[in-house]
């Protein structure tokens, strides 16, 4: 490496000297004139070795920033993973609905049953359980993070299940028949992925938790 070779400072030419002379503050020709302190500040800092220049940064803040980053990484990862999982579960549930609708007998097409009755148990198995397991795993990761950075903190890290025992009630009085397929799928998508839907409420909880945790650790 050639990192510290000093630059050869070429001697100033006559023209340079003349330019320098013409650029001088006219007051500097007066007897007793002193360069203003503000103009000298950097020169003094750069040139004089007589006194130490005080540092203006606090290394302890780096720790706080690292903590903050770790919490935000958890929050961001939660948002991405929970959303991705919700998309996959929504697709899997939609597939099950399509399959079951395709199998509806002619008799059941006439004497229909409510979609809620037909789908709630499948919803619990296909969506609710895997989602709860994933959220518990995320909560566990968050607990470890908080334990490491804030061992004395007593924060409530729980994710309250954003659903009732009967999520599919959102389908109202829709009947489980093929002609209602689009409407059923649309309502299920809103239930899982929509604004204020299941995953959105989990994300909001994660955002609030991250904010509370960051605020808990003062500098």
């Amino acid at each position: 490496m050639d990192l510290n070779t000093p630059n050869s400072k070429a001697p100033k030419s006559a023209v340079d000297k003349a330019v320098s002379f013409l650029q001088r503050d006219v007051r500097s020709f007066l007897p007793g004139w002193k360069e203003p302190a503000c103009a000298k500040q950097e020169t003094v800092e750069s040139g004089s070795q007589d006194f130490p220049i005080p540092s203006l940064v606090d290394p302890a803040i780096v720790d706080h920033l690292a903590f903050r980053r770790e919490v935000l990484d958890w929050r961001d990862g939660f948002h991405a993973r929970a959303t991705q999982l919700a998309i996959e579960l929504c697709n899997a549930f939609a597939l099950k609905i399509r399959e079951d609708l395709a199998d509806v007998s002619i008799f059941r097409r006439v004497l229909t049953r409510p979609a809620y009755d037909m789908l709630q148990d499948h919803f619990i198995r296909i969506v609710r359980v895997p989602m709860q397991q994933a959220i518990q795993q995320e909560q566990s990761e968050l607990s470890k993070l908080v334990q490491r950075w804030l061992p004395d903190a007593t924060l409530d890290l729980a994710f309250v299940a954003p659903w009732s025992d009967s999520e599919c009630k959102c389908l109202g009085d829709l009947d489980f028949t093929p002609k209602n397929e689009d409407e059923i799928l649309g309502k299920i998508e809103i239930l899982i992925l929509g604004d204020s839907g299941i995953v959105d409420r989990h994300r909001t909880r994660a955002t609030n938790l991250a904010r509370n945790i960051i605020e808990e650790r003062s500098l």
Binding site: M1, D2, L3, N4, T5, P6, N7, D16, V19, Q41, E42, E45, S46, G47, Q49, P52, I53, P54, S55, L56, V57, P59, A60, V62, D63, L65, A66, R69, L72, D73, R75, D76, G77, H79, A80, R81, T83, Q84, I87, R203, T207
Partner: protein, 315 residues
């Protein structure tokens, strides 16, 4: 001139692997004592190597693979070798996306010529994006954006040409002040985009964020060149706070029609950029308190011809 204590990153990688050294942003710390050991800084050949890839036009997700895979075509074996070495080191330091974005690793962007080239690719990409789809940009708003892009381009060009002046300090100061105005505009646009009711378009957001980062990187670089280290430190502190406020609320699902994976890649770049910005005041403080001259520091980086990344050693 004081000798600037640069090391090559390899000397620190073992400590990072064992956990004896930890990294935050571009700061390397002793894991046990908490003391700052050094600062990662790109050298003059870093931007030269990175200009091989048109990273300004890429999405955050493709940045690193694009840089790693560069090699075919017109580039010399030396250039490709430098780029690959740089990417390997950045990956070891876990700041690969930071290296290839326009945040700048360290406090100098080390080469305005290459910065301008990368800005030009950004400029073209923004035009393409806004022309291709209606992102809610009104004609007047688009004209305003075009004006600010042109102004920024001109300022980066002035920074590049300033060194040929007999005394470039006032020119650097003017460029820095001009870029502060441009940065404020781009920050406002990004802030508006984030707070809008509709989700942001990731590609447009990414290009604007890159322009903002470029403006701020060049601003700080100019202040260091004029040896206004205290001022540079103040500026870098405000930029760090600005990024924190601007980007913290963004999550992987803040973007329209984007997969969570792609959104997460974008957010990681923003977090790395925020951390890198928060690291800069520490590096500048070190230069200032050790009485290193800003111009000497830049010149030492420019002279480096072997290693795209260096560590400014504190201890």
């Amino acid at each position: 001139m004081s000798t600037i204590p640069f090391d090559v990153p390899a000397q620190f990688l073992a400590g990072l692997n064992t956990g004896d050294i930890i990294r935050f942003g571009t700061i390397l710390k002793d894991a046990h004592t908490g003391q700052i050991l050094g600062h990662v800084q790109e050298s003059g050949i870093a931007q030269s190597a990175l200009s091989l890839v048109t990273s300004g036009a890429a999405s955050p997700l493709s940045l690193v693979p694009e840089a790693i895979n560069a090699g075919a075509g017109i580039y010399t074996a030396v250039q490709v070798g430098q780029l690959k070495a740089m990417m390997e080191t950045l990956q070891s330091l876990q700041i690969a996306t930071l290296g290839v974005s326009l945040v700048g690793v360290g406090v100098s962007v080390a080469g305005f010529l290459y910065m301008r080239k990368r800005f030009n690719s950004l400029d073209g990409r923004i035009d393409e994006l806004i022309d291709a789809v209606n992102f809610g940009f009104e004609t007047q708003q688009k004209a305003m954006l075009r004006r600010h892009m042109s102004r920024t381009k001109g300022l980066v060009q002035r920074a590049e040409q300033a060194k040929s002046l007999s005394d470039p300090r006032s020119e650097y100061a003017e460029v820095a002040a001009g870029l502060a105005d441009q940065a404020a505009y781009f920050e406002g646009e990004i802030s508006f985009m984030i707070s809008a009711k509709d989700k942001a378009n990731l590609d447009v957001f990414w290009q604007l964020a890159q322009v903002l980062m470029l403006c701020n990187s060049v601003r700080i670089d100019c202040r260091i060149r004029t040896n206004e280290l205290r001022h540079a430190q103040n500026v870098s502190e405000s930029i760090a706070l600005e990024y924190q406020n601007l980007f913290e609320s963004i999550t992987p699902v803040s973007f329209d029609g984007t997969s969570p994976e792609k959104g997460l890649a974008m957010v990681k770049v923003l977090r790395d950029a925020t951390d890198a910005a928060a690291s800069k005041p520490y590096l500048i403080d070190y230069l200032r308190t050790r009485r290193f001259d800003g111009q000497d520091y830049i010149e030492a980086l420019d002279r480096e011809k072997q290693s795209p990344l260096l560590i400014l050693r504190e201890k």
